[in-house]
Amino acid sequence: MLKAKQYKSGVKPIWCPGCGHYSVLNAITKAFAALEQSPEQAVLVSGIGCSSRLPAYLNSYGFHGVHGRALPLATGLKVARPDLNVIALGGDGDGFSIGGNHFLHACRRNVDLVYVVMDNEVYGMTKGQASPTTPEHWQHSKLTPHGPEVRPFQPCALALAAGAGFIARGHSGDPNGLAQMLFAAVKHPGFAFVQVLSQCVTFCPEQVQWKEQVHAESVGTDNPAEAAHFLHSDDGFAKGIFYCNPRTPWPLPHDSQATDLREGFRL
């Protein structure tokens, strides 16, 4: 049995001091300790972004792929190697902007993965442009000087509409709570989506206020209509497991006899 700290790789994170992603890293190691995860059986798969650097900081296997493609990479791995505990992770830009299509289809496909999005409502790595979850009138990027002027994405509501069976939101200010959530997500059979409010102190210093804004909710339901209702009236700062409705993960097992591949070619 390993302690939480023993899941770290020793590679020093590149993150800014105060970045929320540190807490997510800690929450993962805590969850691993609780899960008694053997490091070689876990694989952390990510895209590109500050958040996506995380796999290298863990003592497990990892794949730091290309921007936006953590989910297909993880899907291929998990389908090919169902014995592994595969956790996909990344940022809001990686997951909801360039990776939006894979997010939808992963929710629907329901492969037994955990997907953690460290949502800081900004592109940290590329120095502060708006992401899909950026507030409509946030004017701190030169690329969108008037603000995005577009309504922010609702990741949890979308996950529900797309068919995800486990939907939760955590906060980097509460790594213990987050660790528990991740524990549940790993245990959940099928696709589990965890949105983590994880502040970017460099480009959105206002996010340190989040610790005052988040509020725990115990709305856990397995009823999609109830969940939809809740998520459509949500202020974005509720914390908790909102929806949990396990179904058999994909791919389903099929009976198939051994085939002579060459059979069909013979006249």
Binding site: A56, Y61, F63, R262
Partner: protein, 585 residues
């Protein structure tokens, strides 16, 4: 040694494609070898369609430019195939009474021709039995002429129609018989091709199916793909079989997902592939670079079609060469292999499957619509010695704390740990990295890793699988080609020899890294080298030139390049014409 080519045209619903398939199968049952090509208009249903069957006593891997017999169930839209079904004065034409008006442009020409047009009442024969299928009557008629209207024809019909129930099959048998009987009253004024002694149990297969076979036999156990013509049927063939081998096929949401899924599986140690065509390949470019940089095995099959952009989706062309060889950003060495015939789809894909695992990188296989979708009668293919897992297993296991995933070895190949293996934990990365897999922007690491990734492929250029050489002792002319033009060039070779012009033919299977020494050797004693390929820009020819040093180039015979795009298939005749037009040939 007489071959013969039979074309069939009709519009949707007349069933010419079914006719072609049953005819090929029946002929194969009677000892013929042969090959079938189907061609469609853009319509999914109800549009024009055509099939061309070539039959003879030896395996036939290509088509020639001549049509000996044209069977017409419906003349409408015939003009759309004018390029693909070139009639000559000696083409015998047999048409159904209900075939409709002959095309304007053809009408006068047809009347003035050596061989007349024979009009027969196939629809009437069918109708007399209560069937609408004039194609079956025609099938019986032609099968009788070929001498395969007995058991071979019956089982071809059974094979095609058995799912529609016993009644349908019985009716078809009797319509076919009526057609066969017609031959006695209305003989075909053409000698049938020679039948041979076909192999013990010959195969009937398309190149796409054989590519799928090669992949699965060599160990592919994960496929992710997005449907696209003309690659889909390779995927469909695998989809029905991979699970019985313990593998899985995923229909992905798009090509970006497909290729990344395959990379994920490959990272997990499960030999994985995707298949696509030009537009999909373009979308995969970024992720293919990831396979190169992270040194993850990845097999990509590109069944080429007419380009650029959506282009001509249902027709063949060799125009994705540039994208396949050069289309990644950064310095991204990888392997590109081209299948040299339908049967070689099996070989090339199996070899490529092993290479991807062995060299831990992207291996691209180029096939094309002609290879992929034509159907051939061929001798059973041998089992091949290519195995993805075996070659993977031969790598040294990671050595605990000192394990360097991207170790700079002599061969350039580093030990690859697989998830689940304790002590091998590392994070694969598309960022440049040090030997220990930690991201690095240092010049030293970058140069080391770039050199290593290049080096691990270099020895491949010397592999015996690099290509196929069909040499004739007195040849002073070399025909150099790649991919699906190889069988065409072989046929040109044979015909040229009959005319007293011996040529040697080389088909290049390994396009990158280019097997330069072997190529130079094959060129060295030649007076002329003719490069042939099916694209507009002479893509391979330019590439070959780019790889030669000034000195090498100076020492070479003159290189002449004959390159033209699809959709017209290449014929032996046009290659012969090029050979005969060479300066001092």
């Amino acid at each position: 040694m007489r071959n013969l080519t039979i074309a069939m045209t009709g519009s949707g619903g007349t069933g010419v494609v079914a006719l072609g398939e049953m005819l090929l199968r029946a002929a194969a049952g009677a000892g013929y070898y042969g090959i079938l090509r189907k061609t469609f208009g853009p319509q999914i249903r109800g549009g024009e369609s055509a099939a061309v069957v070539r039959l003879g006593p030896r395996p036939l891997a290509s088509f020639c430019g001549e049509i000996d017999l044209l069977l017409v169930l419906d003349w409408s839209h015939f003009q759309r195939f004018a390029d693909e079904i070139p009639l000559s004065a000696s083409t015998l034409i047999i048409e159904d009474v209900a075939a409709g008006a002959r095309p304007q442009q053809l009408a006068s020409e047809l009347l003035a021709r050596e061989q007349g047009v024979q009009v027969l009442d196939f629809s009437g024969l069918a109708q007399a039995q209560g069937s609408a299928h004039s194609n079956i009557a025609l099938l019986g008629y032609v099968a009788a002429w070929l001498g395969c209207d007995g058991e071979p024809l019956q089982s071809a019909i059974d094979h095609r129609l058995h799912k529609q129930g016993a009644e349908v099959v019985a009716l078809a048998h009797s319509v076919a018989r009526a057609g066969a009987e017609l031959l006695q009253q209305a003989p075909i004024n053409l000698q049938p091709p020679d039948a041979g002694a076909a192999a013990e149990s010959p195969w009937l297969a398309t190149g796409n199916q054989l590519a799928g076979l090669g992949a699965l036999e060599a160990g592919i156990r994960f496929v992710a793909a997005y449907p696209i013509t003309p690659a889909s049927d390779a995927l469909e063939w695998m989809a029905g079989r991979i699970e019985s081998l313990g593998g899985r096929l995923v229909q992905a949401e798009d090509e970006l997902a497909a290729v990344n899924m395959a990379i994920g599986a490959g990272f997990g140690g499960v030999p994985a592939m995707t298949a696509t065509s030009g537009p999909g390949l373009a979308l995969m470019s970024e992720a293919m670079g990831l396979a190169v940089a992270s040194e993850t095995p990845l097999l990509v099959l590109d069944v080429m079609r007419g380009g650029p952009s959506t282009g001509i989706p249902t027709k063949s062309e060799q125009s994705d060469f540039n994208l396949a060889v050069y289309g990644l950003h950064g310095d991204a060495p990888h392997v590109v292999v081209a299948a040299l015939s339908l049967a070689d789809c099996h070989y090339s894909v199996a070899w490529a499957t092993q290479l991807a695992s062995e060299r831990q990188t992207l291996v691209l296989v180029l096939s094309d619509q002609f290879l992929g979708q034509s159907m051939q009668v061929l001798p059973p293919l041998p089992s091949l010695p290519f195995h993805a897992e075996l070659s993977r297993a031969s790598l040294p296991p990671p050595a605990g704390a000192d394990y360097f995933r991207y170790l700079d070895t002599d061969s350039g190949i580093s030990p690859m740990a697989l998830p689940g293996q304790p002590g091998g934990e590392y994070t694969a990365d598309g960022l440049e990295h040090s030997q220990s897999a930690v991201p690095s922007a240092r010049a030293q690491d970058h140069e080391q890793q770039l050199a290593k990734r290049q080096r691990k492929l270099q020895s491949l250029a010397a592999s015996t699988q690099w290509g196929e050489v069909s040499a004739l002792p007195q040849a002073r002319i070399l025909i150099l080609c790649w991919g699906s033009l190889f069988p065409v060039a072989l046929e040109a070779q044979q015909r040229l020899q009959e005319r007293g012009t011996p040529v040697t033919v080389v088909g290049v299977r390994l396009l990158a890294p280019l097997p330069l020494e072997s190529l130079l050797r094959s060129m060295q004693d030649m007076a002329q080298v003719l490069l042939v390929e099916q694209n507009h820009q002479a893509q391979f020819a330019h590439y070959l030139q780019s790889q030669l040093t000034q000195a090498q180039r100076a020492g070479l015979p003159e290189l002449t390049c004959y390159s033209r795009p699809g959709p017209r298939l290449f014929t032996p005749q046009e290659i012969m014409q090029q050979v005969e037009g060479l300066p001092r040939a």
